[in-house]
């Protein structure tokens, strides 16, 4: 009887191949991100848009690692959190097989300025992203619990729609030049991608995942709702502010983003204060560092907008936001969540469920943590000082860290 019941529990999980194909791909794209950054080291500090290795690196991180991780996590965690299963599994496979090769082709097109690759890759990637958004929206539509997380999910999915439309317009504009201001559209696309999609999704998922990992009491929803309102306002102000270059609206958008981030960080502080688990492990060193980098990135943005003499301030802001906050946070969560999911999926021959600690290869994670931190410091310093050697050295160290992280991922997957 109990064995039957337990197999029922396993049936409520998606096949392990679904989330882990996304997580494995995210680990590989993480390696490719640092390689592309190494190739584009000479152009990074003064990057001002346009195709090339830097643009490819940005999308290897945002699409290849961030979105890929978000998809794997959302497909696996959202149905259980909302208690609304996916209707079918096949759309997740379709999404993956559109999105993963699409991202490879698209970023190849960005690096080489190949219109054919940009077009094919752009359409495939957009189709994969929209497939993900539709599947997630269907789950959110049926969800009756976790209203705060669900509301974050809706804003993130609306942002996916906006960023995808803008992405396709930007690709076709490279060939035809029909957009009145390509750079303004690109900046708006980035605000929807980095803040509207990934940022808001990270905020929403954190309200469940962080208390779950830290064993905290449920977080007071009022501050979470306030943060969400300011996230939405930040996006609402940022769109005309960036498209039409209206400075006062840029300040308004940034102020709202600051309040939204402050509300989120306050909630995370509450989770830490009420936690039962005193030893959170190395993953939380990474996660806490990412929160510090979120605050620093927004302060850099504000200082740059106020005209503070920060050399290459806009690029520094972008790097701290993407590699500093989002990449660091997601790698911290991945190193916590992969052994956790593997433990639930594991089907050992001796019938003994493996312990979480047995599924975590700490040595590669330690190497990654050291290399990732060093890479962030070196590349950020290289951007400010415009020294290519620093950026290249940072990217090379980041690459070593990414390989160590992929080794950890491979070791977890091998135990499935």
């Amino acid at each position: 009887m109990s064995m039957l019941m337990l197999s029922g529990a396993k049936d409520r999980l998606l096949p392990s191949s679904i989330p882990f194909r996304f997580f494995a791909s995210a680990s590989v794209f993480h390696i490719l991100f640092w390689i592309a950054l190494l190739m584009g080291a000479d152009d990074l500090a003064t990057f001002n848009g346009g195709t090339g290795w830097v643009l490819a690196a940005i999308h290897l991180a945002t699409l290849g690692t961030f979105a890929m991780t978000a998809m794997g996590a959302a497909f696996q965690l959202l149905p259980i959190a909302t208690r609304q299963p996916l209707v079918h599994n096949w759309p997740t496979y379709l999404t993956f097989w559109l999105f993963m090769p699409g991202t490879l082709i698209l970023t190849f097109g960005m690096a080489t300025t190949s219109m054919a690759a940009l077009t094919v890759g752009g359409i495939a990637t957009s189709s994969g992203l929209l497939g993900f958004a539709l599947l997630t929206a269907d789950n959110l539509r049926r969800a009756s619990s976790l209203p705060l997380v669900t509301a974050h999910g809706w804003i993130a999915m609306i942002s996916v729609l906006a960023l995808t439309v803008l992405a396709l317009l930007l690709i076709f504009d490279l060939d035809t030049g029909f957009l009145p201001d390509h750079r303004a559209a690109a900046a708006t696309h980035m605000s929807f991608a980095a803040f509207g999609f990934m940022g808001v999704l990270v905020f929403g998922f954190s309200y469940v995942l962080i208390p779950m990992f830290a064993l905290s009491r449920a977080l007071p929803p009022r501050i979470g709702w306030m943060g969400l309102v300011f996230s939405a306002l930040a996006l609402a102000f940022a769109t005309p502010a960036l498209l039409l270059e209206i400075t006062i609206l840029q300040f308004a958008a940034l102020l709202c983003a600051h309040i939204s981030a402050a509300a989120y960080l306050w909630q995370m502080r509450t989770a830490f204060k009420t936690r039962m688990r005193k030893r959170l492990g190395p993953a939380f060193i990474v996660i806490r560092a990412s929160w510090a980098l979120l605050a620093i990135s927004l302060l850099v943005a504000l200082a740059t907008l106020l005209g503070a003499p920060i050399p290459n301030g806009a690029t520094l802001f972008g790097f701290l936001l993407l590699a500093g906050w989002l990449l660091t946070f997601l790698l911290g969560v991945l190193q916590r969540i992969m052994p956790f999911l593997a433990s639930m999926h594991a089907n050992p021959k001796d019938g003994r469920t493996p312990l979480l600690s047995e599924l975590t290869a700490q040595r590669p994670l330690d190497i990654h943590m050291f290399c990732h931190g060093a890479a962030l410091v070196l590349v950020a310093t290289g951007i400010v000082t415009d020294i290519t050697l620093l950026i290249a050295t940072g990217a090379a160290i980041g690459l070593i860290g990414a390989i160590a992280f992929a080794t950890f991922a491979a070791l977890v997957i091998r135990k499935l």
Partner: protein, 85 residues
């Protein structure tokens, strides 16, 4: 954490019962861990849940507890937790 745990709990024939129905995530897990982390709590412990807490199983295993689903009321998933020897 010294405050009262979320959920309801009582003892019946010396066995601790924890009722986490109606709690939002992650409070069911917090409530159960609050009790079973106490050194004097050696089990067995009966948990009254609204769904099967599959995300909790790795944590329980790590802590040296086994779990088994036993018959309960309709709309209830009842688990018995035992400390592994």
């Amino acid at each position: 954490m010294t405050e009262e745990p979320p959920g309801k709990y009582w003892r019946d024939d010396g066995i601790l019962h924890i009722d986490v129905r109606g709690l939002g995530p992650p409070e069911p897990m917090v409530a159960i861990l609050f009790h079973i982390e106490k050194p004097e709590e050696v089990g067995p412990v009966i948990v009254h849940h609204f769904c099967e807490p599959i995300y909790f199983y790795p944590e329980l295993t790590e802590m040296g507890w086994s779990y088994e689903i036993i018959p309960g009321e309709p709309e209830e998933v009842r688990l018995i937790l035992r400390q592994k020897t």
